[in-house]
């Protein structure tokens, strides 16, 4: 049942120009950035060769590309998720799902899975660029796997937050702005809150703040460090916002 709903969401995404536009813009920007960095790398390759332990191509070309992709997801995910619940509410099509023998959890998970399937396409395209270099050089597969996992976890938490934002209003545009605002707030908070709390020796609040800082959790994996807490945090954030979205949907049944 989750896959039925996910399939429907994916299909709806591809019938709107928005999804194609997002795919195009993301790919053009990332492709340009990737080629630019590759060019720079080739220019400084001679100097690098003289260093004792030089950074490899994966670190210098792939990692920044992934960072750009992360920044682009910040804009793209709220836009892709905005219609999922808000528009169904505005067009009163949500009734079809609510009247069907499907639980609220299945509805939200289905929509989440549909969104993730779309984001997986973006992630695969990002991964494809450095993988193409395999014909000419040796890649750091460990780092590449870490980067891909980090981007996947980021997409997961962004999706859950954006989906919840979409459940709060019947105006898709408002949902997109709300989702973007919440993600941005988390970004700023993550930059400072965790560190300043830790500086005061408040370990538990600092650990708690880290759950709400998706980009902070991106960094260790992005450097190839497997930090289990940085993997658990985005999963916790995702679960929390999905539960909020389910409760929100059920609340509409209760409150009308």
């Amino acid at each position: 049942m989750i896959f039925t709903i996910a399939g429907k969401e994916l299909r709806t995404l591809f019938t709107s120009p928005l999804a194609w536009l997002v795919l195009t813009v993301v790919q053009v920007v990332l492709g340009y950035g990737f080629l630019k960095r590759l060019d720079d790398f080739l220019q400084i390759q001679a100097q690098l060769a003289q260093m004792a332990s030089p950074p490899g191509i994966t670190e210098l070309v792939a990692a920044p590309t992934y960072a750009t992709a992360a920044a682009m997801l910040l804009f793209a995910v709220p836009l892709l998720a905005m219609r999922m619940i808000a528009e169904e509410r505005r067009n009163q099509t949500l009734t079809l799902l609510l009247s069907a023998p499907v639980s609220m959890t299945q509805i939200i998970l289905g929509k989440f899975a549909g969104l993730m399937a779309f984001l997986l396409i973006i992630i695969v395209l990002v991964l494809a660029m450095p993988l193409l270099l395999v014909t000419g050089t040796r890649l750091d597969y460990g780092l590449l796997a870490g980067l891909t996992l980090a981007l996947l976890l980021l997409a997961t938490s962004f999706s859950a937050v954006s989906l919840y934002a979409s459940s709060l209003t019947a105006q898709p545009m408002a949902a997109a702005l709300l989702g973007f605002g919440v993600l941005l707030a988390m970004l700023f908070m993550g930059e400072t809150a965790g560190d300043s709390l830790r500086a005061r020796g408040w370990q538990v609040p600092a650990a708690f703040a880290q759950v709400f800082s998706p980009l902070k959790n991106f960094e260790p994996l992005g450097r190839g460090i497997i930090d289990s807490y940085a993997i658990v945090c985005p999963l916790l954030l995702t679960a929390a916002f999905l539960i909020l979205a389910i409760r929100r949907l059920d609340g509409r049944r209760l409150r009308g």
């Binding site: 009734t95 799902l97 009247s99 009308g256």
Partner: protein, 314 residues
Amino acid sequence: MMTTDPALTICARGLSRRFGTHVAVKALDLDVRRGEVLGLLGPNGAGKTTTMQMLTGNLAPSAGEIRICDIDLLEKPVLAKARIGYLPETPPLYRELNVREYLDLAAKLHRVPKPRRAAAVDTAMTRCGLSDVSRKLIGTLSKGYQQRVGIAQAIVHEPDVIILDEPTVGLDPNQILDIRALIRELGGKHSVILSTHILPEVEAVCDRVQIMHHGVVVFTDTIAGLRDFQRGRTVTISLHRPPDINTLRSISGVAGVEAAGDGRFRIQFAPGSDPSEALVSAAGAGDWGLYQLTPAQSSLEDVFVQLTRPAEPS
């Protein structure tokens, strides 16, 4: 404990729904048996849609109990919903899908097993006259066709209970006749609840009627009962040479006479004692020049006024 009559497909007891301080539906009881079409009548804002939303699990009741084919809707919503087909006031259509894709999705959501799905979609399309437009995008269809897609969506999984909120809105007269025939046909095997404010529609398709007003059921009876009620307990007679009004009052069965001028009289009578025949023979014997006798046809609004007046605090 509620009765477990196997033929009883919908059984609601003491259903209430409040929105803040506003009571939309109050202590509503509703029973529908298999093979029965129940008409839910009422003016706008009477609570019909709220009732239907509660019966389909779209809205949680503030109080009360709903059983669909003896499954508690509130405790086992997924099991109960599998037996319901619902057409809401605004058909829940995805404009970007074509008719076949959409009905296939509806069938999947309602757990129609894959081997039977294509046939189920075909049957629903044939029944609703959609076979010619199966490849068209729903967004490009006219309002009448969209309404039919909405009905098809509600019946594609052959539910035991079909709930239609104003199914004939926006259809042309021919389509209305088709849809009414379809509802009658569905009423043979399934249970149907439909809401409307068109009285002829109720007479054409329903077996039983519940009239709601201000969230309360004010009348529940069979169609025959509604006809009696509707026909009213008055006849109007027109006479060229009217006698004294007391002569009319003395005719057996007459409960009251009201002169309407120009030799016309409105005659009230007790239920079951229609004095028409006695009036005609008295008119013949007395040479009153009777040229017209009409049983008063009260409109739905009149029925409402009659039904709701005692309930309203004056």
